[in-house]
């Protein structure tokens, strides 16, 4: 303990352990710190501006994105330069981290042939920043396996880099590029391209990588294991689902030839008429989308299916599970009805509705590879395929995934013969937000006569559609469906996507609300009813009808046109989110805005943990401050050189101020300043709060024996406070900024606040940690502070007796009030944990504090 302290003191005094290191004069130190601060503030301004302009409310172009980003990069580079000077280049890794993020962003903006150069990546090696290399589907699965430790079958991914290599080795680039030349899809060109891909030679470097991956897989799971080879296009499963648009080849043996065939099939499906139409409808430029291909070990599935972690049609708070015997393909392709379970979410999930399916047919794997649709054995056909325990476990998984991804998920799962649940896909589920589309208006239907069909089937997408019935007998007829038709079909199929934007409504006899087609219908907001049993019998070809699906999932088809319910103009309008170019540009924000480095007091606060530019900024800011504050806290020299000024306050707060520009109204060379001389707006507000009558209790509250022991162990430097200037509270202040590090009693608090006239640039960061007394009392105080801060609108994170609170975009006057309250709170809670003897105390003191009663 002693040595650490002395060591720091020596460093602060310019006497490093070796006694040779030179500490720059403090004036210089401040200037460098101010440079860091100014660059950082400027960078935050640019980040805020980009967030606003790229948020969907502005028309912007690449000129804006480019110039805003180069401003950001400039200020960050400047900040890093000053930071290196300030710290004596103590964090050399930071530059490498910054360069990596910068390269990712620039590649995304301007495109780059480089990037990840691996042909194959194993699922366990996939990290969050690899979406563009492994595609959306497998990036999500990797998160499920690697972050959540849920069971996901072993897999490897053939990357988008392999895709580039494959396409360019076959001289296919000109053909691919030629696809993007007009509004009409050139079907002949697509056919030719797919044919070339089907017969293409796999380049040597890909072949070698596949060979090694297969060897690996054999070692892990033996010869008798098979692969599901599935698409994982760059943006698949992100904003647009691409549900059922690409090929999946099931049960592929671990042989190079078989795998290569499957790979070619999946790649070719990127250029199928159906998927190209879909891409066009979503605003993609044809030929720009790259495809990674995932190869996943097949689960020997007893049963499988789909789960929606939130019911799409009303009933939030519930989730849906669809299950069938054998492979789940039967469900997503709408070939079987399956069992249907509705579960109320909660700590104890509760089954509230069951509809057993007939499950007449099922898909099974064949021992020589491939799959077959067979008649379900009679012994199990009508039986439910999930036990109560399975439903409960699945529901918990669904809630976990929804929590992890922060939005409802469309999950594919399988249960093997050992009754293990595997997740084979998790993608965002599109659910209409309240008010996103108008509900079908409650019109009088008296004159329309009885409906042709009502309360039949399952609602997939609410809304109303008017048109002539087209009864589709065979998929080949799909080209004949006229615009504006109500499509009525025996089965559902994701092939409908080709004509989906032109349809008024879709009604099917068989099908599930969790199929690929159902996902697409929600994406395009086509009113859809599935599983009606006999719509193809009840409705006649050419008949004019109105299809309605209500908010509560009630369904009906009426004869004739009901104007009030008819097609609305916005029915098929895609939202901004679905414009590919917009999404692509906005995507760079993911590498800029989110803040992952939150808590500097734990080990993870390292340069290599920075994932975004915001993290880099945060790291620089925190470490630059520590540099300055450490020197001030332990540096008598600071005071001697008049670089720091002691605040003379009516309460013994013991604060010294390092003025980095406009922080104090004092003449150079003074050693003391009064409250009136504080010019720093945020510092003044906090101190004002501390001075509020009644909040500062002069008498130390008596500590019990174990409190005292515990405080001795937690605060090693406490025995050395005899030295006048050691352990001072330090405020670094400029006119609009303050960083205040306080050690009151036995706990540490940090307030970092920037407060200017421009609300959106303002931020407040509050950190509270430690304290004497035993852990129960400490946690009571933490609870109290958290309660009060939440009341002020701060977002709070808690861990043990650490609290981090943040708020931004606050008006100057509101920030002033907030800081003053914080000042009061800090003074008030200095010794509070010593008197918080029970949990009721928390509530009592919160109530008292908010009332302005500061008695202890």
């Amino acid at each position: 303990m002693n040595k650490g302290f002395v060591g720091r003191l020596r460093t602060a005094l310019g006497l490093s352990e070796s006694g040779k290191e030179q500490v720059p004069p403090f004036e210089l130190l401040f200037r460098r710190f101010r440079d860091v601060l100014e660059s950082n503030n400027r960078a935050i301004e640019v980040i805020t501006d980009m967030g606003e302009k790229l948020g969907g409310d502005y028309l912007f172009d690449i000129v804006y994105v480019g110039s805003a980003y180069s401003q950001l990069a400039d200020t960050l580079t400047r900040s890093m330069h000053s930071f290196d000077l300030l710290t004596g280049s103590r964090y050399p890794e930071l530059r490498g981290v910054y360069d990596r993020i910068d390269t990712q962003i620039r590649e995304m903006m301007y495109g780059s042939p480089q990037g990840q150069d691996r042909m194959v990546v194993s699922l366990s090696d996939i990290t969050r920043d690899m979406t563009h290399t492994v595609g959306g589907k497998f990036a999500s699965l990797a998160a499920v396996k690697n972050s959540l430790s849920l069971r996901v079958p072993d897999a490897f991914v053939i990357t988008t880099h392999a895709y580039d290599t494959f396409i360019s080795s076959q001289n296919l680039i000109p053909l691919v590029e030629a696809l993007d030349n007009g509004t009409e899809v050139n079907e002949a060109a697509l056919d030719e391209l797919r044919d070339l891909i089907a017969h293409a030679t796999i380049p040597r470097e890909i072949e070698e990588a596949l060979h090694n991956a297969l060897e690996n897989m054999r070692t892990k799971c033996g010869e008798r294991c098979f692969l599901a080879v599935r698409s994982s296009a760059e943006e698949e499963d992100s904003e647009s689902s691409f549900a059922g648009q690409f090929e999946t080849v099931l049960n592929v043996p671990l042989e190079l030839r078989a795998l290569e065939d499957a790979y070619r099939k999946v790649i070719a499906s990127l250029f199928s008429h159906q998927s190209v139409n879909y891409q066009k409808q979503l605003g993609y430029r044809i030929g720009k989308l790259k495809m990674a291909v995932g190869c996943m070990v097949m689960v020997d599935a007893l049963s499988s299916g789909v789960m929606y972690s939130t019911s799409p049609n009303g009933g939030s708070g519930t989730l849906l599970i669809n299950a069938t015997w054998g492979l789940g393909k039967a469900i997503v392709e709408g070939q079987t009805d399956g069992d249907f379970y509705k579960v109320k979410k909660g700590t104890a999930p509760e089954l509230i509705e069951v509809k057993g399916g007939k499950k007449e047919s099922m898909i099974v794997t064949l021992s020589e590879g491939g799959t077959a649709l067979v008649r379900t054995p009679e012994a199990i056909a009508g039986k439910p395929c999930l036990a109560a325990g399975d439903i409960e476990e699945l529901s918990r998984i669904g809630m976990t995934l929804e929590g992890h991804f922060g939005r409802p998920q469309d999950i594919e799962w399988a249960i093997d013969r050992a009754e293990n649940i595997y997740i084979v896909q998790s993608r965002p589920l599109r659910i209409e937000q309240e008010g996103e589309s108008e509900p079908a208006s409650p019109v009088s239907l008296k004159d329309t006569g009885p409906p042709l069909m009502s309360h039949r089937g399952i609602a997939v997408q609410k809304g109303a559609g008017v048109g002539r019935v087209f009864i589709l007998r065979h998929l080949d007829e799909i080209g004949n469906v006229p615009k504006g038709a109500v499509l009525v079909s025996r089965y559902d199929s994701s092939s409908f996507v080709r004509i989906m934007p032109y349809l008024a409504a879709i009604v099917t006899d068989v099908g599930t609300p969790t199929s690929h087609m159902a996902s697409l219908c929600r994406e395009f907001r086509i009113p859809t009813i599935v599983n009606t049993g006999e719509a193809t019998e009840l409705l006649s070809h050419g008949q004019e009808v109105t299809v309605t699906v209500g908010d509560e999932g009630e369904t009906a088809v009426y004869k004739g046109v009901i104007e009030e319910l008819g097609n609305r103009a916005d029915m098929h309008s895609v939202t901004m989110e679905q414009a590919y170019e917009f999404r692509k540009k906005r995507y760079i924000l993911r590498y800029i805005v989110p803040l992952n480095l939150v808590d500097p007091s734990i080990d993870q606060f390292l340069p290599e943990r920075c994932k975004t530019l915001h993290d880099v900024l945060r790291f620089i800011h925190e470490k630059a401050l520590m540099e300055l504050v450490d020197k001030a806290r332990y540096g008598n020299t600071m005071i001697r050189e008049h670089a720091a000024v002691k605040l003379e306050l009516p309460v013994p707060a013991g604060i010294i101020v390092i003025d980095i520009g406009g922080g104090l109204n004092s003449t150079a060379g003074t050693e003391h300043a009064s409250f009136e001389q504080i010019a720093s707006f945020p510092l003044r507000a906090v101190v004002k709060g501390m001075l509020h009558p009644g909040v500062w209790h002069a008498d130390a509250v008596s500590l019990k024996v174990n409190d005292f022991l515990s405080s001795m162990m937690r605060v090693p430097d406490i025995a050395f406070q005899r030295n006048d200037y050691v352990g001072y509270n330090v405020a670094v202040a400029s006119a609009e900024y303050t960083n205040l590090s306080l050690k009151f009693g036995y706990h540490f608090t940090m307030i970092d606040c920037y407060c200017s006239e421009t609300a959106r640039n303002n931020h407040l960061y509050f950190r509270f940690v430690g304290g004497a007394t035993d852990i129960t009392k400490r946690s009571r105080r933490v609870q109290l502070i958290a309660e009060i801060l939440k009341g002020y609108g701060l977002s709070i994170e808690m861990k043990g007796d650490l609290i981090i609170g943040r708020i931004g975009n606050v008006r100057r006057d509101a920030m002033e009030a907030l800081l003053e309250q914080l000042g009061r709170l800090l003074a008030y809670t200095r010794q509070l944990d010593a008197v918080m003897h029970d949990d009721f105390a928390v509530e009592r003191y919160v109530r008292n504090f908010l009332k302005g009663d500061y008695e202890l």
């Binding site: 028309l59 172009d61 804006y64 916005d570 414009a579």
Partner: protein, 122 residues
């Protein structure tokens, strides 16, 4: 009833895409063009109520679009948007009878308000 027709010309796809999506939400009929040349020949065929055009494009610039539109349809309103806003371009545009002039990025709400003013609706 015929809907108002709006043409958007910008050599960056993202601008046209975003404009189309947001204007169609308000019930306008929108056509977008990446190049001014095909846009101008489309104008020969049919009239648009408002033309929103980028100022600086390869080949034909926004001022030329403005002149052609005004020659063909004096009452069609032209709104100019540009990434390279300076006073000179703004003055030149305003002299040329442009309805409105916005620097990019332009807030979609403002563009919509300007279009409504151009059409005399509120």
């Amino acid at each position: 009833m015929d809907r108002y027709r709006i043409m958007v010309i910008d050599d960056e796809k993202i601008v046209g895409d975003m404009a189309k999506i947001s204007l169609e939400q308000d019930g306008y009929e929108v056509e977008t063009f990446l190049n001014p040349a095909p846009a101008l020949s489309r104008l020969q065929e049919t009239k648009f109520d408002v033309v929103v055009t980028d100022y600086k494009m390869k080949g034909i610039d926004g001022m030329e679009v403005l002149k052609t539109v005004k020659t063909l349809y004096p009452d069609t309103k032209v709104i100019m948007i540009t990434a390279f806003a300076n006073l000179d371009t703004a003055i030149e545009a305003l002299r040329g009878d442009v309805h409105d002039f916005f620097p990019k990025p332009v807030r979609i709400k403002e563009l919509k308000a300007s279009i409504r003013r151009a059409l005399g609706i509120q």
